[in-house]
Symmetry: C2
Amino acid sequence: MIELANKLVIILASGGLDSSTVAGLAKENGARIIGLSFDYGQRHKKELSAAQEIANHLHFEELKIIKLDLSQWGGSSLTDYTQNIPTHGVDKNIIPNTYVPGRNTIFISIALSYAEAINADIIGLGVNALDYSGYPDCRPDYIYQFQKLANLSNKRGRENKPIQLWAPLLSLNKEEIMEMAYENKVPIEMTWSCYAGGLEPCKICDSCRIRERAFTNWAKRYKK
Amino acid sequence: MIELANKLVIILASGGLDSSTVAGLAKENGARIIGLSFDYGQRHKKELSAAQEIANHLHFEELKIIKLDLSQWGGSSLTDYTQNIPTHGVDKNIIPNTYVPGRNTIFISIALSYAEAINADIIGLGVNALDYSGYPDCRPDYIYQFQKLANLSNKRGRENKPIQLWAPLLSLNKEEIMEMAYENKVPIEMTWSCYAGGLEPCKICDSCRIRERAFTNWAKRYKK
């Protein structure tokens, strides 16, 4: 694993299980953490309050919330409220309408800008490609290519001190992520995964289904 | 050159000579144009009003202005008003403090998101690598790498109908760009290049110097 002790790590913090696990892992390995969350016109702000709770719990140095309205052009059921969130189960062969055009590319770009300005070394990402919803911008090739772009795009790359994209969950499945969360003292109960913004998780959106199955498999595999 | 007739082209419109030239070229070749400008916490809003004038003149279908405050973390004399804009001339071996960390990467990412949502085929960019200010995110390698990332990042890439990054000025020098602007009926007098936001261009910032030299060389070479 990369060297984390005393490093300044910017984490794209969605308030969900994955990014919170990356934060916990960074924290347990001695990193200083700044969270970056986005108020991007998503359906609900619950993920932002979850991100804030987790930031407090894990003693982030700061949680910065960036406003950028992607619902101006929608193109996703998460940013265009006239589209329904799918509830019929996950089909990995199609990209579901919860995919938000360009979201990860925009968020990582903004994190790179911030990292360069404050001289952070690492950007921590919760993306994972095994138990996911078929999003193109969560695949290993995508992250690999973004690293190459990052190295070309900024001063740090030119000075041969590149800002590193760190995606430690990339090849884990969800129950392995859950175990990693558990081992790294992540307050799993504070994380919010549901695409809907009700008082309780809906249990039928893709994100709830993936999380529910992960809990079951995790309990079975790790006998907890 | 790429096929432009009746294509929907999103142009990153800064109000300056370069992006306006790309817009003129697209227009003269029959494209439909949507402009994307950024209110990003820059020193002055003059470039936004210039972009609007040019959009009207060249009959853009729309000019969308995106708010995203990069002055939150500064890191550039354009977004941190305590830093002075350099006035001592251009040195291509150093990256000047007018370089804004991550700016092009963020702007292109947002354009990709918008293009995917409205099904545009092309993103037009005014970047050029010969007469420029030494910015890392204006080089051909950078654009080439971004195209590879774009193809991996979205639905369009997966469907083998990639959104194309089009940077027709990449290998032109400034007087050649000026000639292209002239040939494509760009209202050069409406464009604004100066980093400062005075009533008139300051004539001593890098951007003014590059533009001034281009005018002189252009007049000489094209005998106008």
